[in-house]
C-alpha cells in the first residue's frame, strides 16, 4: 500500500482543464440543467448525469427516499426517459450548461450497456461516460454486476468496444472486492474508476414489521460514511494506475482534501448538493481558505 500523500489540487482531468476537484455525482444533479440556470456550475469540474438506460423507466413505486436523520436512503429505480428521449430532448438542452458532461449509463445485461453507449455516441454533447455496475445483472440471477470482478471486466470491455471517449466504472461497495473489480476495469480498458456507489441500507417500521421501501433495501448515503470512502479510495488507488474518482460523504472542503490525500483525482458531491445547490462554490471558497492557511 502506498502512503497517503499531501493533497494536490488537480488542474485537469481526462485532459480537460478544470476549475477545481469538485464534480457532481450521478443522480443528484439531473443533467446539470437546473444548476446551470441558477449559475451554480462555475466551480464544478464535471457533471455526472443521472443514469440512462436503453428504454424509458418509470422508476420505483413510492416511497423512494427516507431521511433517517443521520443519512439518506434512496430507492429511485433508475427512473429516466431512455436513450431516445435523452438524445432528442435532454442532451440538446444540456449542451449549454457550459461544463463537461459525463453520462452515467446502466443496463440489465452487458448488451444493454453496449447498446446504450453505442446509441449515445450519436451525440457530441458529452465528454465521456460513467458505467454504473451497481445495477442487477439479469444474466447472473439479479446479483449486481459490480459484485463479480469478471463481470465488471466483461461490461468494461463491451463499453470500450463502443467508444473512444473516456469512461469511468462506478464501483459498488456492497458485497464485492472493489480492489479486484477496479483492477479488472483497468485491464479491460477503463479510463477511471469511481469509488463508490451508495451503501446497501434498509429501514423497517418495527411497529408493523414492514420495510419502508417496497424493494426492502435501498442505497444509503451520509457524511458519516466518509471514512469508508476514504479507505476505499486509498485501497483502490494503491492498486490501479488509472485515476480514481471519489464519491460519498463529502460535505466540506476538508473532506475533499482528505480524499485527494487518499489518492483521488476528482471528488464528487451528491447528497450534499440536494441540500445545498451552492455546495460546489462553498467548497471552492473553503479550499481557497484552507490552502491559503498553509
Amino acid at each position: 500500500m502506498k502512503a497517503p500523500g499531501r493533497p494536490s489540487i488537480p488542474a485537469s482531468f481526462w485532459g480537460i482543464p478544470i476549475p477545481g476537484p469538485v464534480a457532481l455525482a450521478s443522480g443528484t444533479c439531473g443533467f446539470g440543467i437546473e444548476l446551470a440556470e441558477m449559475n451554480l456550475l462555475d466551480d464544478v469540474a464535471f457533471v455526472f448525469s443521472k443514469a440512462v438506460t436503453p428504454e424509458p423507466r418509470d422508476g420505483n413505486e413510492p416511497p423512494r427516499i427516507y431521511d433517517t436523520g443521520m443519512g439518506l436512503l434512496n430507492s429511485i429505480g433508475l427512473a429516466n426517459p431512455g436513450i431516445e428521449k435523452v438524445l432528442s430532448d435532454v442532451l440538446p438542452r444540456a449542451a449549454s450548461i457550459g461544463r463537461p458532461l459525463v453520462i452515467n449509463v446502466a443496463g440489465a445485461t452487458v448488451e444493454e450497456f453496449a447498446r446504450t453507449v453505442s446509441a449515445l455516441e450519436a451525440s457530441g454533447v458529452h465528454a465521456g461516460y460513467e458505467v454504473n455496475v451497481s445495477c442487477p445483472n439479469v444474466e447472473a440471477g439479479g446479483m449486481a454486476f459490480g459484485v463479480d470482478p469478471s463481470e465488471v471486466g466483461r461490461v468494461t470491455r463491451a463499453v470500450r468496444r463502443e467508444t473512444d471517449r473516456p469512461f469511468a466504472v462506478k464501483l459498488t461497495p456492497n458485497g464485492g472486492d472493489m480492489v479486484r473489480a477496479a483492477q479488472e476495469a483497468e485491464a479491460a480498458g477503463a479510463d477511471a474508476v469511481t469509488v463508490c456507489n451508495t451503501f446497501l441500507g434498509m429501514k423497517i417500521d418495527w411497529r408493523t414489521g414492514t420495510p419502508v421501501f417496497r424493494r426492502g433495501v435501498a442505497g444509503y448515503s451520509s457524511p458519516a460514511l466518509l471514512p469508508l470512502v476514504v479507505a476505499g479510495v486509498w485501497q483502490v488507488s494503491s492498486a490501479v494506475g488509472i485515476p480514481v474518482i471519489a464519491s460519498g460523504g463529502v460535505r466540506e472542503a476538508s473532506d475533499v482534501l482528505e480524499l485527494l490525500s487518499a489518492g483521488a483525482s476528482l471528488v464528487q458531491v451528491g447528497t450534499g448538493v440536494l441540500r445545498r445547490p451552492s455546495l460546489p462554490s462553498e467548497i471552492a471558497a473553503g479550499l481557497r481558505e484552507l490552502l491559503c492557511e498553509d
Partner: protein
Amino acid sequence: MNGGMMDESALVMESRFVDDGIARLVLEAPGIAAECRPGQFAMLEPSPGAFPVTRRPLTFSGCDRSAGTVSFLFDVVGKGTSLLSEASPGDRIRLLGPLGRGYDITPGRWLLIAGGMGAAGFPFLLSRTGGGLVLAGMRSSRGIGCLPAGSRLATEDGSAGVRGLVTDLLVDIDWDAFDSVAVCGPAPMMKAVVLAAPRSAAHRIQVSMESGMGCGWGVCGGCPVPSSGGGYLSCCRDGPVFRADCIDWERV
C-alpha cells in the same frame, strides 16, 4: 420551473407553538417573499450542522411582501420539523424557494377543502383569491385555531363542528356554485374528496400533493406522484399543486 429559486439565509422573526405539536415560523426572506405564490413551497434547513442530511419541504402559509417575510405552519412529526420548531427569534434558517407550481389563481368563487394541517396554506391562498368557503376535517379540536375564520368544520371525535369526516361536509355542497376548488390534506382524504366530486367538476379541482423530498428542485426523483397518463409526475417540479384529473387516484 425552479429557475427562479433562491437560497436565503433567513432571519427568524417569530417561532412559537400555536397548539399542541403545531409550530409557526415567520422568517425574513425578502427575495423569496417577493416571488412566492400560494401553493408553492420552500425547503428549510433544520440545522446548520451535518444532520439531518436533507431539508424539509413546507408550504407557505403566509407572505408579507412589504415586510419581506414568509410564514409556515406545520405539525412537528420528526427530527427535522422538531429542530425547526426549536428555532428562536434571531436565529437564521437557510430557506430554498420558491419551489414548485402553486395554485392557478382564477377569478370567481373558491371552495377550499382541508384535511388536518393541509389547511396550513389556505390563509395565503385566501389572501390572493379574495375569499372563499373553507371546509375542514380534523381529528380533534387540536389545530382548529389555525383555520380561517368562518370555516365549516368536522372532527372525527366530535369535539368541534359536526362529528365525522370532511367528506360528510360535502353533502350540502353545490359544486356548480364554485369556479375553483382547492384540496389539501393527507392522500386518502384528497382521494375521497376527488371521488366524491361530480365528474364535471374534476377539471376545476386543484389538489396540493404531499411527498417526502430529497431536493425539492427537480433532480433527485424522490417525490413521484402517479400520473393519469401513466408513469409518474414529480411532486416538487410538476406540482405540488396538480389538476385532479392529472393524477391516477387508483395508484395514490
